[in-house]
Amino acid sequence: MTMLLVVAGLRGQSISDTSIDHLLARVQSNSDTIYVVNFWATWCHPCVAELPIFSSERLNTLKYPTKVILVSLDFKNQVDKQLIPFIQKKGISHEVFLLNERNPNEWIDKIDKSWSGAIPATLIYQGRTKAFHEGELSVAQLLDLINQTSH
């Protein structure tokens, strides 16, 4: 279990690294929770524009509790200068991980074989069931995606 804690920022704000394997182990572990995993980056304008949908009240009205995990593809040297200030400024309360992977050819397919590797991309996990969407989403589309895994 390798979770590096990158401690930075004035108030001890920290972002944890995650590998794809570690992320998948986490989101496949609990079928009573709907995991909403979004791949994004502070430098990706469409990613930033869609972030508010993950705070929609509609996510609190589902049959199962939802857990949003934002996986940032920002770069290690941007964590202090860009990622943490962004999270603080936007008041993002979701869990944020920094993706710690070197070779996209090895991990993109683990998320979804149809994924071209472009962000944003959103993944829904509930237990063993999964739904994947490449590209931006509206709240309505997010709920539709979640419906694809509901049981």
Binding site: F75, R102, N103, A118, I119
Partner: protein, 186 residues
């Protein structure tokens, strides 16, 4: 609904390895029009959909320069195509492309060539080789296995593919997954 249809049509448009490479005619940074068929005296073309704003494109900029210098003399010049409309990112605009002053062609795709190739992000690389009637696709995907750090590259996917085709063999792997920024087309 329209969004879903776009995704489906793009899935069908993706060229596969072995397919004929679609020709194009686009504006170059020297203000002339350039076609793929203008390269008919070359052994092939390293076609890279890339842009100015994307951090991944920036990571690869120096490596792409090196590829052109190494392989243009061997008959495989780089041809770069920017498929982005600069509405989303001003620095993807044509004047910024011109300022780059690349040694290789850097074309503006305002006609949807990226769709004909099935390019889905920047950078997205297609190695083309000359065949009788034009060019065919020999490799699609990533330049190497380490976008963020050139010093950590272990496998040079594209260069291995070039070596293979130069030796009359098939690229293996001929398809890899690359990370990049989504395309904002005209």
């Amino acid at each position: 609904m329209a969004f879903a249809l776009l995704m489906i049509s793009e899935a069908f448009a993706q060229v596969k390895v072995g397919d004929k490479a679609p020709d194009f005619k686009l504006v170059n940074t020297d203000y002339t029009q350039l076609s793929l068929s203008d390269y008919k005296d070359e052994a092939g073309v390293i076609l890279i959909f890339t842009c100015n704003h994307c951090p991944y494109a920036k990571f690869y900029e120096a490596r792409i320069d090196k590829l052109h210098r190494a392989y243009a003399p061997k008959g495989y010049p780089v041809v770069a195509i920017n498929p982005n409309d600069s509405v989303q990112y001003k620095t993807d605009g044509f004047s910024h492309m011109v300022k780059k002053g690349y040694e290789y062609a850097y074309l503006l795709d305002n006609t949807g060539v990226y769709k004909a190739y099935g390019a889905s992000k920047t950078p997205h690389t297609f190695l083309l080789t000359r065949v009788n009637e034009g060019f065919k696709v020999a490799y699609i995907g990533a330049i190497d296995d380490s976008p963020q750090d050139a010093n950590q590259v272990k496998v040079r996917y594209l260069e291995n593919a070039i070596s293979a085709v130069m030796a009359g063999k098939e690229a293996d792997p001929n398809l890899t997954k690359a990370i990049g920024c989504s395309i904002k087309p005209f």
